[in-house]
């Protein structure tokens, strides 16, 4: 092992700070994190996604996601020429093991990773009868699994299909934007493991975050904008055929 001394001294402080919180793993050990300073969102760059499924596997490993349920998944669209209304969409096991190869044809293919959109006006938090799901002051929609009744009303209310009932815990479950990581200065498991940078974690409240420049210079959409959910996952170059 050949340690470059200068490099080590440069990398060490940043990594050390992050790692300290990871090791400590206790709520009090993130004193540097002030919720009010952040407003989390995500950027998904469609042209970069290769459908490798790394994000799905990483999320499952990081968050112990039960088999057959998905906190994030990837869909593959096949749009033939003029018919944008009837795309062929597949998501074999959520894209966990990637997708089967296809040959060239007259249509176009692309991949769409999906996850909880951490909506600013989320219909799921609106319908929860007891206040077990909520949006944090820093913009992450979470489920309090010790309070949830498992009525599944929130699962019905989500237009994006990102929620499910955990088969063992019998409560609602979904993407937490890896809150246990982002509150410690790490990035989400899916972003960490995406090999092409198709997924990026963004902090809308941080003026230096590249998302601001990106939004100004690219064509960006959210899923189902007509639902007016205030979705915060932004898609670059999202095709009109995407459901």
């Amino acid at each position: 092992m050949n340690l470059n001394r200068r490099h080590f001294l440069v990398m060490l402080p940043a990594a050390a700070i992050a790692w300290k919180y990871v090791l400590a793993g206790t709520p009090e050990a993130s004193p540097n994190y002030t919720e009010a300073e952040h407003w989390w969102s995500m950027l998904i760059d469609i042209p970069k996604c290769i459908g490798c499924g790394n994000c799905v596997r990483a999320c499952a490993a990081e968050n112990d996601v039960p088999e057959g349920h998905f906190r994030t998944w990837v869909e593959r669209y096949h749009v033939t020429d003029a018919d944008m209304v009837n795309p062929e969409v597949i998501s074999p096991d959520g894209g966990k093991e990637g997708f089967p190869s296809v040959g060239e044809d007259a249509g176009k293919y692309f991949f769409v990773p999906k996850m909880c959109n951490h909506c600013a006006d989320s219909p799921c938090t609106q319908v929860c009868p007891v206040g077990a799901t909520f949006i944090t002051p820093d913009g992450v929609v979470l489920v309090d699994q010790t309070y949830c009744l498992g009525c599944a009303y929130c699962v019905q209310a989500c237009p994006y299909g990102c929620r499910y009932i955990h088969p063992e815990k019998k409560v609602a479950d979904k993407c937490t934007l890896c809150y246990h990581r982002i509150s410690k200065g790490l990035t989400t498991a899916c972003v960490e493991n995406c090999p092409t940078g198709a997924r990026q974690l963004c902090d809308l409240k941080n003026p230096n975050d590249p998302i601001h420049a990106f939004l100004k210079t690219h064509h960006v959409q959210v899923l189902k904008p007509q639902m007016a959910t205030g979705a915060k996952v932004f898609y670059n170059e999202l095709d009109g055929s995407v459901r």
Binding site: M11, V22, S101, N193
Partner: protein, 156 residues
């Protein structure tokens, strides 16, 4: 008063409601979690509980503190932005205790997952037909995963 006498049973019924309501208020005081309503209509303590969940991926910055040599090799190549655990899997336990050996990787399945040719993938992305490309040779015969650029013959 006679009216009271003839309507007394109604008061008894109403009394049941009053008692039930009082019991409800008392029970509620003890049962509702203390942090409920702290930030909104939810248990404020839930945020910290969720933030305290265990981490499985260490994050590339942590890997690089010890493996700076690998970083040097990586940063000039095409895999510069492919983070360590994207191939090596979750290694927070190894970063915490380096005596825990990371599992050996099977490059045959690993490389193919991203680089198998498919018309579905973006055109500019490097992809090969696994059968035709290497005639059965393992990927790392010609490509070092940390810097996959082809090395000239004899220079290896």
């Amino acid at each position: 008063m006679n009216l009271f006498k003839d309507a007394g049973h109604l008061l008894r019924f109403a009394f049941l409601f009053v008692v039930a309501f009082a019991v409800f208020l008392v029970v509620r005081h003890f049962v509702v979690p203390k942090s409920f309503g702290q930030y909104g209509h939810y248990r404020g303590a839930a945020i910290a509980e969720i933030a305290a969940r265990p981490v499985h991926f260490a994050g590339h910055e942590t890997c690089e503190t010890c493996h700076a040599d690998v970083l040097d090799m990586k940063k000039t190549g095409k895999h510069a932005n492919v983070n360590c655990e994207a191939c090596h899997g979750p290694l927070a336990n190894h970063a915490n205790d380096p005596s825990i050996t990371p599992p050996k990787l099977d490059t045959a399945t690993l490389c193919i997952r991203c680089h198998a040719a498919s018309a579905a993938k973006p055109k500019g992305f490097p992809q090969v037909d696994a059968d035709q490309h290497s005639g059965g040779l393992a990927c790392e015969t010609c490509h070092k995963p940390h810097n996959p650029a082809l090395v000239a013959e004899g220079a290896k």
